[in-house]
Subunit: 460 residues, 2 copies
Amino acid sequence: MALSNLILAELRRLVGHENVLTEPEDLIPYSFDGTAALQQMPGCVVFSRTTEQVAAVLKLANEKKLSVVTRGSGTGLSGGSVPNRDCIVLCTVKMDKILELDRANLTLLAEPGVITLNIAEAATAAGLFYPPDPGSMKISTIGGNVAENSGGLRGLKYGVTRNYVMGMEVVLPDGEIMWLGNKCVKDVAGYSLKDLFIGSEGTLGVITKVLLRLIPKPAAKKTMVATFAQMDHAAEAVSAIIAAKIIPCTLEFLDRMTIHCVEDYAKIGLPLDCEALLLMETDGHSAVVAEEAAQMEQCCRNCGCLELRVARDDEEANKLTSARRSAFSALARVAPTTILEDATVPRSELARMIRFVETIAKKYQLRIGTFGHMGDGNLHPTFLTDERNRDEMHRVEEAFKEIFAEAIRLGGTITGEHGVGLAKKSFLPEFLGGTQMRVLRELRKALDPNRILNPGKMFD
Amino acid sequence: MALSNLILAELRRLVGHENVLTEPEDLIPYSFDGTAALQQMPGCVVFSRTTEQVAAVLKLANEKKLSVVTRGSGTGLSGGSVPNRDCIVLCTVKMDKILELDRANLTLLAEPGVITLNIAEAATAAGLFYPPDPGSMKISTIGGNVAENSGGLRGLKYGVTRNYVMGMEVVLPDGEIMWLGNKCVKDVAGYSLKDLFIGSEGTLGVITKVLLRLIPKPAAKKTMVATFAQMDHAAEAVSAIIAAKIIPCTLEFLDRMTIHCVEDYAKIGLPLDCEALLLMETDGHSAVVAEEAAQMEQCCRNCGCLELRVARDDEEANKLTSARRSAFSALARVAPTTILEDATVPRSELARMIRFVETIAKKYQLRIGTFGHMGDGNLHPTFLTDERNRDEMHRVEEAFKEIFAEAIRLGGTITGEHGVGLAKKSFLPEFLGGTQMRVLRELRKALDPNRILNPGKMFD
């Protein structure tokens, strides 16, 4: 049911006329997120500027039982911020202030609409470090990162967004405002509600402030790239590095298809005659970095790498890193529809999983480029397809089913860092099982009894 | 209402005759935990050996609406495992096997009754490291550590128990068994139920397996002790260390009363003519350790330390560390009742909080020895008292109220690592506020509708 003029007038009264969009041409940019083949027009878009406005909007929506889909920049890859039909899109991008950087307690307080990169840069300017670096960090907002528990390239050593959230302000569906957590390193007063909200994909409340933990900036860094004739050799090199008790800050890989697409796109000068490329980075004290880099190099050589290139300076390091950072964009150029997947397995099962994806590509005659976080076991098989080709899309779906079944069989998960949203919703019940699904439903019912927040996302 | 013979017979049938205790003299050791002045006789004690037995016991209790209080070694300091009257105490100490140590994925799978120290030693034997080291780690069980989200001396650099739990098996009150988490470094499929159960103090389910994350063992370590004429100087040294971008693995302090008690007890040769003692430890690569130790020493000297002693070898390091590790035992010797508190503030407010505790000790004519985790802002003001002295106990209570009010005022928490249990229950509502208390209640109701699990703990 479309939003009535009465509701729209009330929303305008709450947030100001200029902060409510209703014209179709204005709504279109908010009708999708970063996920392929998903689109739905909302009833309106509301920009909040304060926590009190968020509370007022939710209170109204809750009373009238209207759906609210919260979003930041909409870079999500699981459809988590795709609108419901005629819903209110609550967009937090105008709440974009860094409120405090506390050097004594190493914390940063931000509004949810702050761009992730701005947080990283504010930390750097203070000689500190905010490690989570999701692929979309130049555009994504910290509120979205927290709602999705975003990962990135440094997960193996530094963890993900969850590991850096010390507190948050949350507005519940009934408009009540809660502050969770604090600047204390330790706090065990009550259940960790903060951790329940991290990764809850906008289904339990709206995040209106985030308190982040910063750490000292590593003094040195070394970046290198190694290529391998066979994926198995690359996987062996990764195992050898871990067995040497090294936890690199980055341990990424690209397969042949991705390497070629990246080289076409970015002209980095990557070696093309290989099955796999590893991008490795160690950071920390300069003595540690020198030793670890030498050991990592030795591990790669012992596993028969074809070529190994160590960046001489920051510029070359950035160039090598950009090979990985541009993987998605590079693949996205070569087909009308790019579906980026996120199956994840324990690190020890990674080589097996990569081979399985290759088999599936052949079986279903699909073009798949695979890249991802090798140290994390977090794979991004990317389907190069065309959503207008019904037969191919059907084969893509069948391929997904097999890939996720295999990930689960290997002790993995259906999503490492992109979230469930709409894209993985149908796979969640089998993965979690009936008991856990029941608990998820009961928690959601307890927090959002009228089901106004992002309904239909994650599970029904 | 006492447990009927019918119930006891059924429990014996479920877990075996030898695993049910009912004689008063057998029950007494299970009528208290590590918390002073709290005792209550249970109806029986049941030892489970398998997950299925736990499920069967809970199912029975749920049907008959009987209270179940789960415990391991009972070292808790907030009364979290003190029985309810006539309840079933479910004791997991016989589920004490380490089931797997996975060197490729750096994980350890354990039953809940494994002693924390055994986990640390198993990790060490594999060249790996399990950092959480709660004070009670020689006796406490990993199940209890997870249920309480235990801290320890390494929290500042390495975090607490939560940061090392990758997965767990949980039995819900209705006997349903769930497996949460996995060996993947990244996993965002559904709400993080694992994080909800960590620190839930036995009120949501019973933990029957724990999957822990291990990390590479730091190659080197340096331990040192510095003494200061004034607490403020010690606090300034801590601030200077953090400002120098050093995160030591240990940064502990003892006040004058504690130093004297420890020296009386352990004859370590501590300097007695000081107001404060800092125990500092840096670990990692030997080059890092050497540099950081030199910088920490300089910070202490710049802040006017009286004496600084660097351990020459492991033996001396252990001796110095034991000064801190024996603080509680040493204080406990000098008074019939020792009440260990756990107020925590942001690190920047620590000196202020310590001075406040001193003022309160004078105001209420109480003996308080204070020690704790200076880097974490986690204070343990310890009241040396006598529970038979009603007037004094009344003053202790009044002193607590003021200390917690001040901790909250300074942006801190009422418990950094000991939990709420019975001891902090009355302080929780004011700390969290009405909205958060309502959410806690709703979550508990969703998971344990018959309120059989540890009823009356954390909140009513």
